[in-house]
Symmetry: C2
Subunit: 342 residues, 2 copies
DNA sequence: GCCTATTATTTTCGCGCGTAAAATTTCTGT
DNA sequence: ACAGAAATTTTACGCGCGAAAATAATAGGC
């Protein structure tokens, strides 16, 4: 059987002109019944599919969406990306996933290539105000309908869907306080992700409200190896007995995983109860936080809601032709998950 | 300042003909010095870049490489993919990463789109012989220089770079045996990843060599939520006291993470020593295995070597025009990492 | 059965670029 | 200043397809 190389050849063997075949692939219902049947018969025999990239080059409005995350080897982003991807597919779009691997140059390169993909829209979690190249992103958002998520850059993009970091912090601090303890705040001094800064501020504000003195414990280390940074930082703190309180609120679950590892190493019993030395809570509901020992008490992202809302907002943006009017900002609050660690 | 929309316009403002500009972008050293200077001057002013997808459509040999993994939310694949991506970039190629999200239909769709990308080569970790659509993959490999990794499909692709599963199992079993115990083998009855089957066989063979009776403990559950499957399986086993030995070798680290979680839940002390109830070892050196409690004794992949060898082999394959002669197979053996869990 | 209104299909052109061949310019050495 | 080589430009085409305009086919009304 003859091998079909392009739409021309396929049109030939199906006995229909190429543009009509093209119409069929754009929308099978836009051609006559008899025509559709003939095309589908040929399709069964020859197994041809249009070249996606040639299609993109020509179509005025594509069904592509770009998804860009700062670091895909972080399971939090892997999980949120997977959710978003699947919702895009459900909505009839074709998602392409990119990771900046923590590098601003790569982020810029990704945006450049994305332009060529002519995406109907882009869902973009930037490296952050401090790390991203703001001018490049602004230019990009002017040309391509873009929705930021996870990490905001003020005034850039048509919308921002993020986490209500204050609610994350308030709920965990409140819970720890009500159950009898005052947490210190464990974080990276120079965090890779900008949400960390909002969480720190929210922690200080929450402690103020409670009339308590805030204790921020910042550890050294840069990059995305949060677990190792958390572990090393915790080891140092535990050795020098420098922890200001017996309850620790970690800025995120990956740091907490490292912290728990250090505690185990030092024989410190983590948990909520009379025979425990330390309570450790955290934020994100990282996919593994339920499998740590002890399982992490954490403020959970609503992965599902974030994915749904970002994709819905993008669809609206696309339908409304790239302008939602006012820049839409939406912070999704958390759900506290009580596990054994605190 | 005028906005440049394509190479034509850019050629205009730089005062050079379009084909020469095209040559420049293909290889800046292929044009005269004075020409290059003029182009680069214009480049600084106008910030133009060729449309990647239009380039791909026309170039006979592109610098694209496709990377396909079965499940990117698995940190093992995220880590190996990140390594491979970075090596490709170093080698001057342009990698595109795809995840089948565990679904054969998606895997097929990815291969289809990959064809349109005209990649110089593809690095492909298939879902596996049982799950992948073998015919689709065979067809693909006939058309595109492809190297399989992680999971082999006999006779398909120009080469296979994988793990020497036997060495993984032998080293862990040997170590556990020498240090005084006989392990049972903890696995999924219907594993998502085909390496699991080779590991089981290797375990049985290893036990035979030692003159011991093998004990395979297979737990139910399908899909890619290995930690949860391991946890539920372990809980059941521990409750009914059905574990045949006091030493457990898990088929992979993610199962082991779930297993450890169950042990913690039941108050069972895992580790190597007189006051421990159970030893747990595993395989993969998953990025988090050093942070579990206790840290996992595991047979480590040489991530670096795998990434280097796959990319090197692909480069050879590309240079040799798609035919390496004999199908090249290489299994990389493991390095045992002793931690506290066993 | 004839004419118009409504699809459906074909014609023609364009997207942004690579590539090959021929014509022209520039450079090198003398 | 001149022959020959090397680089560049011109010209022309192709890639695989979408989209608007032009044409053909069908349906409806009388």
């Amino acid at each position: 059987m003859r091998k079909i190389r392009n739409m021309e050849e396929f049109a030939e063997v199906s006995g229909i002109s190429r543009p009509t075949v093209s119409k069929y692939f754009h929308d099978p219902d836009s051609v006559r019944d008899s025509t559709r049947k003939r095309i589908e018969a040929a399709l069964a025999k020859y197994d041809y599919r249009p070249n996606m990239f040639a299609v993109n080059q020509n179509r005025k409005l594509t069904k592509n969406v770009g998804i860009v995350v700062p670091y895909l080897a972080d399971p939090y982003f892997a999980e949120i990306a997977r959710n978003i991807e699947e919702r895009c597919i459900e909505a009839g779009f074709h998602p392409s996933l990119f990771s900046a691997h923590g590098k601003p140059e790569l982020e810029n390169a990704i945006l450049d290539n994305l332009r060529a993909l002519k995406p109907a829209g882009v869902l973009f979690a930037p490296l952050g105000r401090r790390n991203s190249d703001k001018k490049v992103i602004e230019d990009f958002c002017r040309d391509v309908p873009t929705i930021l998520f996870d990490s905001n850059i003020e005034g850039v993009g048509a919308a921002f869907i993020g986490s209500d970091n204050a609610s994350f912090v308030n709920q965990t601090v409140d819970y720890l306080h009500r159950s009898g303890d005052i947490p210190c705040f464990f974080e990276m001094r120079y965090p890779a992700n900008p949400n960390a800064i909002r969480r720190r501020d929210a922690y200080i504000a929450a402690m103020d409200r409670l009339g308590m003195e805030p204790h921020v414990v910042a550890v050294e280390g840069t990059g995305w190896a949060f677990e190792e940074i958390g572990r090393q930082g915790a080891l140092k703190l535990l050795e020098s007995d420098a922890l200001p309180t017996r309850t620790v609120l970690c800025s995120n679950d990956r740091l907490a995983i490292g912290f728990l590892s250090a505690c185990y190493d030092r024989g410190i019993v983590v948990g909520f109860g009379p025979d425990c030395d330390l309570r450790v809570a955290s934020m994100d509901d990282h996919p593994y936080s339920r499998f740590t020992c002890p399982p992490l008490t954490t403020a959970a992202h609503d992965y599902d809601a974030v994915a749904r809302l970002t994709v819905e907002t993008l669809l609206k943006l696309i339908e409304s032709d790239g302008t939602l009017g006012e820049r839409y900002e939406r912070l999704i609050s958390t759900r506290l998950i009580l596990r054994a660690s605190a």
